[in-house]
């Protein structure tokens, strides 16, 4: 792999940029791999990357039915934070956030991590108490957050209306090292690093079946033929249930559409990420100047990557009260992704009833921020059979009643 650097730019400028080469290879599948990861989104590629980097397992294929990073990795609102209430969530999300801090250097690929700070607005008295509690919990967990009053919110976000008639801003949970990153670059950076370690990233290769020998996985059938493997990682977000069925087990997952939208680009007006969970909308400004807006999921099972207009309308209507300035903005693009929701709205990182198959799914509406931590834990789980970060997120927590009750306890949008 040719390293990217200021020197490389100068060298290529001197020869008309003729020597850059491909960022990752496009090989045909081999007959057998030590491990196959299904899904070349952020989580799948991060899993492969840490299998190689932390455990030296590089005979790995990452299979992708579409194109690299074309699912939820390229459809989210790029928010990174770790201000969770429960210890298990705070641990894995903070691991992820801390890995984002050095990701550009680790991967030699600019992922444009921007720790600009994230505020979660408290707009009801319930939220005030909830976020004060979360701030205390975060102090014990070693996650840097702070509960701030409305004056400080106004100072950080001058365009906000803190006296909204219906939901005034009473305070906020402030995470100064939260922020955003460029989502495509995260997938591309991991892909380039994986390819460099000799892993095969195979796009347009859909898994059509999972081959088992009794209770053990022996390989997969794909649109590019059968491929053998010792271990199989299913990291496919919205389609986790579909693949689990092919492998012969069930998941406590429902697939729903989640929408996001961006406005026309405007001059810089908001340099932090703001989440308003009572009204369920969140907004940040991209480097191009677009206001990036997201809300809650649509209500019904859906695999179409399209949502209903009235959900977009609800989100924007709610945000206009808090940000009156955006009422005249034109919205440029709107899109949807299919998210996999579990009963307790927390992810699943687990062994499965089939020996050798591991699942990483259920990230629901909050997967992007977790990508490096999720890959780190999933790689450890696949290599060693156990990972401290993943232990609480196992599949049997539903049977045992050990829910990670994050959505109820913290009242957060993921």
């Amino acid at each position: 792999m040719k390293r990217y650097s200021a020197f490389a730019i100068a060298r290529e400028a001197a020869r008309y940029h003729s020597g850059w080469g491909r960022a990752w290879a496009a090989p045909q599948p081999k007959a057998k791999y030590d491990a196959i990861i299904v899904g070349a989104g952020g989580h799948g590629l991060a899993t492969a990357y840490y299998l190689g980097k932390n455990f030296g397992i590089t005979n790995v294929a990452v299979l992708e039915k579409g194109w690299l990073g074309g699912g939820n990795t390229g459809r989210n609102t790029t928010i990174i934070r770790s201000n969770y209430l429960q210890d298990a969530s705070a641990a894995i999300y903070e691991k992820a956030r801390s890995l984002y801090e050095t990701m550009s250097q680790d991967l030699n690929y600019n992922v444009m991590f921007s720790p600009r700070g994230v505020i979660m607005l408290a707009q009801t008295h319930h939220e005030v108490r909830g976020y004060q509690r979360t701030a205390h919990a975060n102090a014990l967990q070693g996650v840097e957050t702070q509960y701030i009053g409305p004056d400080k919110v106004k100072e950080l976000v001058p365009i906000i209306n803190i006296d909204g008639p219906r939901y005034p801003v009473l305070g906020g949970l402030w995470q100064p090292r939260g922020g955003t990153a460029r989502h495509d670059a995260v997938a591309w950076g991991y892909a380039r690093a994986c390819s460099d370690m000799g892993m095969d990233i195979i796009q347009q290769c859909e898994v059509t079946g999972v081959r088992r020998d009794g209770d053990r996985v022996i390989g997969v059938d794909t649109t590019k033929g059968a491929i053998d493997c010792d271990k199989l990682g299913l990291v496919v977000a919205g389609h986790s249930g579909v693949l689990a069925e092919k492998a012969g087990f069930r998941l406590p997952i429902e697939s729903l559409a989640l929408q996001a939208l961006v406005s026309e680009p405007i001059k810089p007006c908001m340099d932090v990420v703001v989440m308003a969970n009572t009204v369920h909308g969140y907004m940040s400004q991209s480097d191009k100047g677009e206001m990036v807006i997201g809300g809650g999921t649509d209500g019904f099972n859906n695999y179409t990557q399209r949502g209903s207009f009235h959900h977009v309308e609800e989100t924007v209507r709610a945000l206009i009260e808090t940000f009156p300035m955006i009422s005249r903005l034109k919205m440029l693009r709107q899109w949807g992704g299919i998210v996999d929701m579990t009963g307790d709205r927390s992810p699943i990182l687990s062994k499965t009833p089939v020996d050798g198959i591991f699942v990483n799914c259920g990230w629901g509406t909050g997967g992007f921020k977790a990508i490096p931590g999720s890959g780190w834990a999933m790689a450890e789980l696949m290599a060693k059979g156990h990972s401290p970060l993943a232990a609480e997120f196992s599949l049997n927590r539903f049977a045992e009643g050990r829910f990670i009750d994050e959505s109820v306890a913290a009242g957060v949008a993921h």
Partner: protein, 109 residues
């Protein structure tokens, strides 16, 4: 936007009038059931990519719960029917078979 006809009041209701209520025809397990059955009843869901049966409530209308048969891949609606039944009526199943030959959902086909 999704439009469903409420089988009780006959109104063609669009989505903002309705509330989605998740999978239909769940078999309920309670005290005395095995752990596996109880877990499956509480958490495991069909979540198919294709034909799906689900509960809806005509919340901003007559307020009643009803069932709908819908395709999660195309959002096509095959029909709606009363919630006073433990399985989809034959007319709905025939309507699905006409458009999705060979479909299966749980034990129904």
């Amino acid at each position: 936007m999704l439009t469903l006809q409420c089988p009780y009041c006959g109104v063609q209701a669009e989505e903002t009038e309705l509330h989605a209520g998740g999978e239909a025809h769940l078999k309920r397990f309670g005290p005395g059931a095995s752990d596996e059955d109880f877990e499956a009843y509480l958490f495991m869901r069909e979540n198919p990519k294709g034909v799906h049966f689900e509960r809806w409530r005509h919340v901003n209308g007559c307020g009643k719960w009803f069932h709908a048969a819908r395709c999660t891949m195309t959002l096509e609606v095959f029909g709606t029917y009363s919630a006073q039944t433990s399985e989809p009526p034959q007319s709905i199943r025939a309507a699905i078979s006409a458009k999705r030959p060979g479909w299966q959902w749980k034990d129904f086909a």
